[in-house]
Assembly symmetry: C2
């Protein structure tokens, strides 16, 4: 078997989410994931350090896209407009497969405390990436971390809505809606 | 050795933070922690499931105190006033020992990705406890989770300031200050 496998990464994510949903996260081994994907364990470890990271494979890319979107935004944009641009940029990376997989992925993560922990860390990582990008634009602390936190919340809320079977809206539209709801909720805080 | 040991929990936390700071988190075993504390491994496991949880021992109590503080607040209080009351309640549990330990604790957690992950989970847990308590007061979503998120941020920011050697302010005063800064930062978001 050669080193290069077409769509190996995507096939591994597919196989892992299927197996986790079928037989549980704890009961699934890396060997089984590789086998289900028609690949070797070696190929698995070329793509992921362990089975947990298969579920959080997008984090680095999401962080980078959010930061790039914020950086490339017009200088005149407000912090929340920049965050919205970041969310647009990350949305461009989403595929129909991710949408189809979303509900199973969320179910697997929710069912397992180690994965919920990892998920909280992803949330914090996305917020940190946005905070840094906003600070580079000259947004002062704590406005930068607050805008980033709203962005990370909007990301989660929009993702949860986007994967609903009956949803027909685009991720960017849902993300802007979520950001707007959060922004409006500020008025209720007192 | 009897089942009851005076201040066993506190002695174990002391010993663990000292050892983690001295020789690293990965290089420290539960046996060493117990030995340094003058206790047995069995006593350790009566208090903590593993060495990591020694560092997050306060999470359940903090969540409960935050929720209680929010629940017991006057009906007329705004969501942020309720959050401030929750932070007051949790501050009442802080001891001079925690303040003394704070810088070492933060250094250990910051140096280790597994601990940063666990710390993000604690942050999310505190926010979830506050969100639930606010929703019970009738605060609608997403205002409840937003107020809770500001509360969790204020908690971290105030704690970081409280443990600074030159600090002379109380935790509740610092927490209110942090909340007010976050509230004011909202005006900059656009």
């Amino acid at each position: 078997m050669g080193r290069w496998e077409p769509n190996a990464r995507e096939r591994l994510v597919h196989a892992a989410v299927d197996l986790f949903a079928e037989q549980g996260y704890d009961n699934t081994t890396v060997s089984e994931i590789a086998q289900r994907a028609g690949l070797t364990k070696t190929t698995f470890f070329r793509h992921f350090p362990d089975k947990r990271e298969v579920l959080f494979a997008g984090q680095e890319m999401h962080s980078r896209l959010l930061a790039d979107g914020i950086a490339e935004c017009a200088e005149s944009a407000t912090p929340l407009e920049a965050v919205a641009a970041g969310l647009d940029a990350v949305a461009a990376s989403f595929t129909p497969v991710q949408r189809e997989f979303g509900p199973r992925l969320i179910a697997v993560v929710t069912a397992h405390s180690e994965l919920r922990e990892r998920s909280a860390f992803k949330h914090a990582g996305l917020a940190a990436a946005m905070t840094e990008a906003l600070e580079k634009r000259g947004v002062p602390d704590p406005a930068a971390s607050l805008a980033a936190e709203l962005g990370a919340h909007a990301f989660s809320r929009a993702f949860a809505r986007w994967i609903e079977p009956e949803n027909e809206e685009s991720f960017p539209a849902l993300a802007r809606q979520a950001l707007e709801e959060l922004r409006a909720a500020v008025e209720l805080l007192g």
